[in-house]
């Protein structure tokens, strides 16, 4: 990457195009895989784009009891997620914005996005909203410290909480980057990812059954543009979480040079990895049933235990080698 201003700016635009443009498609692939595994045909791959387009053309409708919080929450939540995108190394290293924020900031931004939606769900005054936000915040309060622990597990060998620095170390080490602590950290991250993005054993994104919904209960009041922002944001939050997993667990293929060809190749590789990750989650979702709410604590305990174990092993191996 030369010292010019142009290349990082282009890379940044590219990242946003990739994440914002592709995440509905990735979500559609996930749904398609899930449907196929269950013997259904599933919605067409362009359906999420059509939904977003339809919603974009409609105004929001607000309850008479709702305040300004309900109006602004989707935009704030979306903006927080937008700000999180450049924190993840997608296809070029160093990350276009450089060291402007680390993964702790990312956890904070995801927390902010979750918080405003939970607040908005309470604002409308409906029963479901209160129920949904209560569940969501309970999970969030448990998930956030575990998320930080997982980040420390990934970051401690690199001595940094910058995703860019961690991924750069992985790319430099090549295959030698893979070791037992990394494996434990990956397992912890995947468990956490299911909770953080509300995928199946934790929350069923396809249900509107009042007893079980978590995220859906919170956004029940939204229509039109606001719903579009929420659904789109949710789609690329999934992409962000997967992108981070890819950057931390298997960063090979991220381009460290500025040549156009290599960057193009890196884009192709990261899209392939994202597709693979979505397909895997789709298959997982087709097979598991939703868990009882309070078993989520078990899942997170396990994630915390794996992350902690990873740190312990890293200590031994670091001391031994």
């Amino acid at each position: 990457m030369s010292g010019s201003f142009l290349a990082p700016a282009l890379a940044l635009v590219g990242e946003y195009l990739l994440v914002l443009g592709l995440s509905p498609l990735l979500l559609a692939v996930l749904r398609r895989v899930k449907a196929r595994t269950q013997g259904r045909i599933g919605p067409p791959l362009l359906q999420p784009y059509r939904d977003l387009w339809k919603w974009m053309g409609k105004d929001g409708i607000y309850a008479s009891s709702a305040s300004w919080i309900t109006r602004y929450a989707p935009a704030i939540s979306f903006a927080a997620l937008l700000a999180a995108v450049p924190l993840v190394p997608w296809f070029v290293l160093p990350t276009p914005l450089g060291p402007f924020g680390d993964l702790i900031l990312l956890v904070g931004l995801l927390g902010l996005s979750r918080f405003v939606i939970a607040l908005a769900a309470l604002d409308g005054g409906s029963t479901f909203g209160g129920m949904g936000s209560s569940r969501e915040m309970w999970m969030g309060a448990l998930a956030e410290p575990v998320f930080l622990l997982v980040i420390f597990a990934f970051g401690s060998p690199a001595g940094s909480t910058q995703a860019g620095a961690i991924a750069a170390r992985g790319v430099a080490l090549g295959i030698a980057y893979a070791n037992p602590p990394l494996l434990l950290a990956i397992v912890a991250y995947v468990l956490l990812l299911l909770v953080e993005t509300g995928r199946l054993p934790v929350d069923n994104p396809a249900t509107h059954l009042e007893l079980t919904m978590v995220h859906e209960a919170m956004v029940l009041e939204y229509t039109g543009r606001d719903l579009a922002l929420i659904e789109w944001g949710r789609g690329f939050k999934l992409a962000i979480m997967f992108g981070l997993l890819i950057a931390l667990a298997a960063p090979w293929g991220i381009s460290t040079s500025g040549t156009l060809l290599l960057v193009g190749l890196a884009v192709g590789i990261v899209v392939g990895k994202l597709l693979g990750a979505h397909v895997l989650v789709g298959r997982l979702e087709a097979r598991v049933a939703k868990w009882r709410l309070f078993r989520v604590a078990d899942l997170l305990t396990l994630a915390a235990v794996f992350a902690f174990g990873s740190l312990a092993l890293a200590y031994v191996i670091g001391g031994g080698a």
Binding site: N179, L184, T301, L313
Partner: protein, 218 residues
């Protein structure tokens, strides 16, 4: 830089550790047995990798034996026991899932703390596996003492055995073919005895809850 097979060995050992941990969480016996089969496959892989790296052909035989006995025969036997005896499929435990996971972590930390400082003195690249192997043994032991059904206790014993095997591979490149052969044969015999024992238990008491045996103490 460590050679590639040694690194692969580390990863395989980590899989053994992860599966030992996961086996603490299962509530259904079939899932527990499946996890054990995966763990044994990872153990067999470590044996194969060691055989490749250190040109020890007898270890290939051992790896094959592990696949035959620990991956295919024993899990098959256990599944049959569950099916034939109609054991209720839930794993009864003394500790909750969350407590088990945390105790598993404590056991790992213990072995890292105690064994970790010793491992570098063994002048073999794979000695880093030793804390993992000891942790697997301890977790297997915990599985053995914290579960109530006789059949899950058998699985605990088998997990312990996998840990011992891993430690043997890590430190001595196999305990010697003859010892391993004897061990494998013993395991099979043990499983068969356990099966017969469970059958008798089922016939006599109509259940296989080892906890209820205490009632005989009077």
């Amino acid at each position: 830089m460590t050679p590639l097979p040694v690194q692969a060995l580390d990863i395989a050992a980590a899989v053994v550790l992860v599966t030992a941990w996961v086996s603490l969480l299962h509530r259904r016996i079939e899932a527990l047995v499946d996890t054990y089969a995966i763990q044994s496959a990872a153990v067999a892989l470590t044996a194969g990798l060691v055989a490749y790296e250190y040109r020890a052909p007898d270890l290939y035989l051992l790896a094959g034996l592990t696949v035959a006995v620990n991956v295919v025969a024993l899990p098959g036997l256990l599944r049959r026991v569950v099916r034939v005896l109609g054991v209720p499929r839930m794993v009864n435990m003394y500790a909750s899932v969350r407590e088990s996971a945390l105790i598993g972590l404590a056991l790992l930390l213990l072995s890292v703390w105690v064994v970790g400082p010793i491992a570098p003195f063994a002048e073999i690249p794979s000695a880093g596996l030793l804390p993992i192997a000891v942790a697997v043994v301890l977790i297997g032991f915990f599985l053995l003492v914290s579960r109530r059904k006789a059949i899950t206790q058998v699985v605990g014993l088998l997990v312990m055995n996998n840990g011992v095997f891993l430690a043997g591979i890590a430190l001595t490149y196999g305990l010697g073919l003859l010892v391993e052969l004897g061990l494998a044969a013993n395991l099979l015999v043990l499983a068969i005895v356990a099966r017969i024992f469970l059958q008798r238990m089922k016939e006599s008491f109509d259940h296989v809850d080892a906890d209820a045996l205490r009632a005989l103490e009077g």
